[in-house]
Symmetry: C2
Subunit: 783 residues, 2 copies
């Protein structure tokens, strides 16, 4: 297909769910009502580490409307533990709680209020024991061991390569070495070594986690707000010993996810309760409870880099320490992936990486937009500017010198770099006015929010202004990834796409509709993309890792092509003529100069009552054993440039402008790509400047939505926008590739670099609060 003939792909088609959402009619799990549905509220541990004593449920059970109080002892006839990486997580813990917020008991009642009332009467004896609430404490020789034995869940090959005898409380240790870093450092003209930190943060999806379960003799149905319906199905099947065919996981609209809804969360509790009360059970939690369900890993990253005088990087050593909390969740994979990507998107002959995820008595940490990349980019991209400064080089030039060119390999044998990072970084720099602050005058970004809004908050004292850059990448698409899709052409020529990618606001359903419409030559508004239902939509690994447009997109495109092929066969049978010269356009088959509507072909072939044509397609990632993380499907690269103004008297930092660059290969829907990238960048502003959990000995002091600060539109810079790099060189449909995570990668480093260029002071700990900057400025002045 010649690209300039594209009709649907490349247009900013209105989201298929736009009207549903703006009219408030989209259906979320919380909207579900089932006959006889009961409601559950969870009693959570107030202590980070404790032995569970007697649970007195008598008063709670006597409460009006209470159907059951469920504790670990009540949950029988199933496997004791689950988890996507290790089977380390109990549905409810039988004897020990490992973090403050861990579910201990569940009250199930006719109404949510009755369950809540019952909860308040529950008496749980907890005997506090020593907690370890930092990786350092957990690694100490006398630290309590959080998990005596770790049994891999067997879902992932890369997690089965765990070092056989892990160090105390080490959940996962990723190691990689290439070349000889010692020699590299020896040959270097400059060796720098720095350590950077980031606290745990909250995904803060608008919709907290929710699950509803119905357990029937024929099987288990769960409605869940999850990014991973099929892995959830697998975990429930194994937990409750039911064939995959008899577990149905349905995913309606999701109100945001950002990795926080990866894998299994509330679903086992919902199923366990439904089995006990023999009624459907709904478990809807609050935003504060969501914050105590999963976090982004707090991290400490030590990076040591050796460079030649001309800026050539010779060696890099990265040592990552990730606080994975009390249960592994998908933390081991985050350790692997952040380790894999830690050196950054550069040509480095000598590399040595250690990445460890460590168990602590904190809330479990798991996937978060970028899967460790925001953490490692903070470290390595700050250090790039520090090196440039030491060498007296322009940070842009340093990066351009070392960035992988298109076709170069990051890891020998893995997929070569598939995009033009040099072009991307040059355009990003140009858009911010590199190397000097432009005040937005040179912005050429495609943003609708370019109107300056700084007029009324001009500070009293002159401020220092500067711009900063960062570049980052990740291997997109996930590991050992499979996506399948079914495309059905109906008798009136309209089309249904069955696929298992969740729609959590990112526009997956819209993009798939565009891909199917384009491939089949039907109008966009005649394509419906069904929501995931593991009983009815075919397998997909999950909606994460920026994978849907590329991987599910390829599956949908393959399914649509198969359906088109069948349609043309049918058309040839009905119309006669040369099959090879037929094509489709605007819902019609083009044959011998005629355009025959699909409906007419169907009527002739099937008869008037109808029929349909079914195509199926699959994507299966290539196998590559070179690293623990498997073969790379595509490279998701992101660049960022920030302009800041710093008030040196107060430490106040204003983000004046931000440019994000996303290499999308080809934008299936440019407006949605921009929205994804801008949303990611906006989300990145929080942890850069003010966001993060305050963890006091395992207690999250600011987990409530009233106390936890996230960016609002007020925090957006006056000049803000996204550059989409479209060279048609992605491996996805029509040359596309994944987008949506990369926007978060560079924000903090670009801002940190701009602050350093403005003030000469380097911050290494997130968030870069005014207080931290003020203290650093003071120290710098004093030093």
């Amino acid at each position: 297909m010649v690209l300039d003939t594209l009709k649907v792909v490349g247009t900013s088609a209105r989201r298929v769910d736009a009207m549903e959402k703006v009219t408030g009619r989209a259906q979320y799990v919380t909207d579900l009502r089932l006959a006889g549905m009961a409601h559950a509220r969870i009693w959570r541990s107030p202590l980070p580490h404790a032995r569970i004593g007697r649970i007195d449920a008598a008063a709670a059970r006597a409460c009006p409307g209470v159907l059951a109080v469920v504790t670990a002892a009540d949950i029988t006839g199933c496997e004791p533990l689950y988890g996507p990486a290790y089977r380390d997580t109990p549905i409810l813990p039988p004897d020990r709680v490992r973090y403050a917020g861990e579910p201990v008991a569940v009250v199930v009642a006719e109404t949510e209020a009755q369950a809540e009332a019952g909860l308040r009467l529950l008496e749980v004896e907890l005997h506090e024991i020593t907690a370890v609430t930092t990786p350092d404490a957990a690694l100490a020789p006398d630290a309590p061991v959080l998990h005596e034995a770790l049994r891999p869940s067997g879902h992932f090959r890369d997690l089965m390569s765990l070092h056989p005898v892990p160090e105390r409380n080490v959940c996962q240790q990723y190691e990689y070495e290439r070349g000889d870093v010692a020699r590299g450092f020896a040959e270097a003209d400059l060796v720098v070594e720095d350590t950077f930190t980031l606290p745990a943060i909250f995904h803060y999806a608008m919709e907290p986690h929710c699950a509803v379960a119905r357990v029937a003799p024929e099987g288990i149905t769960v409605w869940a707000s999850t990014q991973h319906p099929f892995p959830v199905r697998k975990e429930l099947a194994e937990l409750f010993r039911v064939p995959l065919s008899h577990i149905q996981v349905i995913v309606p609209a999701i109100g945001g996810a950002y990795g926080g809804k990866c894998y299994t969360k509330l679903e086992p509790i919902a199923v366990a309760c439904a089995r006990i009360v023999r009624r459907p059970v709904r478990v809807a939690i609050t935003l504060e409870e969501s914050a105590k369900t999963i976090t982004r890993h707090a991290a400490r990253c030590r990076v040591k880099t050796g460079v030649r005088r001309d800026g050539t990087i010779l060696a890099r050593e990265c040592d990552l320490l990730l606080d994975t909390g009390a249960y592994a969740d998908i933390g081991p994979r985050v350790a692997n992936k952040s380790g894999f990507r830690a050196p950054g998107p550069y040509r480095i002959p000598n590399v040595k990486i250690t990445s460890r995820a460590v168990f602590t008595n904190n809330v479990p940490a798991g996937a978060y937009r970028g899967y460790g990349t925001p953490q490692i980019t903070w470290a390595s991209e700050c250090q790039m500017d520090m090196i440039a400064e030491r060498l007296g080089m322009d940070p842009l030039d340093l990066r351009l010198k070392n960035l992988l060119k298109r076709g170069e390999e990051y890891v020998p044998g893995d997929t070569p770099m598939d995009g033009d990072m040099l072009e991307g970084l040059r355009r990003t720099a140009q858009a911010i006015g590199w190397p000097t602050p432009s005040g937005g005058s040179q912005f050429t970004v495609r943003s609708s929010r370019s109107e300056p809004r700084t007029a009324n908050r001009e500070p009293r004292t002159p401020r220092r202004r500067a711009v900063g850059l960062a570049a980052a990448f990740k291997d997109g698409g996930g590991t050992h990834s499979v996506s399948t899709a079914i495309v059905r052409i109906h008798a009136d020529g309209s089309v249904t796409v069955l696929m298992g990618s969740s729609e959590h606001g990112q526009g997956a359903r819209t993009v798939m509709a565009q891909i199917a419409a384009e491939t089949l030559g039907v109008p966009y508004d005649r394509v419906l993309v069904a929501a995931p239902d593991t009983s009815l939509t075919p397998f997909d690994h999950g909606t994460s890792a920026s994978r849907s447009t590329t991987l599910m997109g390829l599956a949908v495109q393959a399914a649509a092509r198969e359906a088109k092929d069948q349609l043309l066969n049918v058309a040839a049978g009905v119309l006669g003529g040369d099959r090879g010269r037929m094509d489709v356009r605007d819902g019609a088959v083009l044959a011998d100069g005629r355009a025959v509507p699909f409906a007419e072909i169907f009527a002739q072939h099937f008869g008037l009552p109808g029929g349909e044509i079914i195509g199926s397609g699959a994507y299966r990632s290539a196998q590559f054993a070179g690293t623990l993380t498997g073969s790379t499907t595509f490279w998701e690269t992101g660049m960022g440039a920030a302009e800041v103004a710093v008030d040196e008297e107060t430490g106040a930092i204003e983000l004046l402008g931000y440019v994000s660059m996303a290499d999308v290969g080809r934008a299936i829907n440019p407006r949605e790509c921009e929205a994804q990238d801008e949303g990611a960048a906006m989300q990145g502003i929080g942890p850069a400047l003010f966001e993060g959990f305050v963890n006091q000995d395992g207690h999250l002091l600011n987990a409530s939505p009233a106390e936890y600060r996230i960016p609002t539109f007020e925090h957006l810079p006056a000049h803000f926008g996204t550059i989409l790099l479209e060279n048609g060189d992605g491996p996805g449909p029509f040359g596309s590739k994944g987008v949506g995570e990369s926007g978060t990668f560079c924000v903090a480093a670009a801002i940190g670099n701009a602050i350093a260029r403005a003030t000469g002071v380097r911050l290494t700990d997130q968030p870069m609060t005014p207080e931290r900057l003020w203290r650093a400025l003071k120290a710098g002045a004093g030093g």
Copy 2:
């Protein structure tokens, strides 16, 4: 596949939904709850024919909880009329009601009780006009015309051949002629001509009709108790001008259907109301309202037959008059089909048939188990005995002489007879003890209910006892039929079947699970068959005409074979070895003497996170233009033999025994086949002996469940059972063919023939009440 190696097919596997149903957990449409769901109650015309005057809804609208009162004037922006055969049915009539019970207005309220309260305050002015409540009255030259113009809906080719200018109030006229009946009668030694009648009856499904509609910006979702989800989707798409892809019809468990839930019923009202109140709307009606929604055609059948002295049938002329009520529904198809089958399963060189469906001011009549066959069998099979008596022949011999042998054509060019009716009839006769009453001693039927229960009701006076026979057939599977299916093999080797056949108690899901399990070599309990959902399960014409096991069965088998083929390809890739010599058994691939579980092959091929294999399959009926009714997929034949005892003093008739024979080709599930056939025979006892609507000038006097009599277990004969004929000669999977309707065909004729043989008196009108028999006995004695 060698049949004696079958592991699942041919076993009486427990129904997949057995536990759901016996524990009361099966979900019916009425069980559905949706957030914000409103409830509708329908105001129905008390008059059979009237002009609609003013509708005063003010008081109803003021009722607490009432959200809307919907009349025809409120329903805008859609097509005015719908219907599967003709577009003759308004969602609500704008100006005229055509039958007593027709919906006129709908009250939508927060609760059903509030809607009902509103209904009582609704004031509707109706101006009665002359009603025609019998076909004869409707055909009179001065009769009011019920439909001025008839627009075919275009769904069916056979209905497009309607005579261009129909006679006044003739809805459909089917005509067929072969040979020269005049010459046939002239050459005959005996010509008999008789007329038989049957009243309208009620399907009486335990679950009345119900529909819930949700109208959202993205499309329309309807949960419906329907046998025809895909045709309902098509009608809603056309009515509301939405692509097929954007109409979702979901069919949960159905509590009986029997043809009464064919095609569109309450769905347009539900959608229209949901559009108006902008909330989901549930329309649940009472059993009495169901009785006023659809009936079985009242019929008058004139049959004229000419035979040779030796019993050879030379000519038969059939003239059928069907009361199709006020709207066509699928009545035209019933007229066609009953006409097509009217001569019976015999070798007749000269045939002339006229079958007319006539509009009247009665409740619409439509599909009913057998689709006209019970009516025409009543006529033709009674007449066979009357001929035998006149010829002094044994009725069994007369039938055996004329029955079509296997391979003979009923209509030249159509599918030849595919079963052994002669064997079937011989075995039926033998089982009843033909030619003399056996009192059940010779019964060799497979019934679990063979214990005599007549001891306590032995009549006071000696009774006359006799046995009677009948034979019947229909072209099974429907016309221009398409079924498609998808079979998914999951990573643990379990299987999901996606198909659109409704489960209304007949066991479709069970049979499909068996077919898929057998074809794929997996255990039966590891197969799940999903319920119909037009957005997610692929196209099926409908669940009617005994078509599912054969047509959908073939589609499921084809899909399973395709999946198996792919699985073996994958296995060959993973295991190496000779693909051609691999097979499947017990959830494993057999290769080189090893049995490798599917799960292992999946893990190696897809990696541990999983994946799936998807097969799709389709059945499309052959096209045959020889008759209006299309090509026959298979012949569903049924025989029946009854033993009766008649009290000549009172006319009391006791059914002592009944044997039903069903040629199932091969029973996929023998117990379910028996249950279907026994259920059909039991359902046939009602109209034979006592059931039927009492229609007084268009008013059904006994439509309430308290007054309408149907057979109960008390009416079952002491000796009752089914013979399954299994010669493996059906066109369906494993030699099967459809069953479930044929059991109803012969009951009345067999009983009528037994009564005639016992008493010498012939009843020609159903039901054969004691009063009718007593009067006939009196008349016979007096004559």
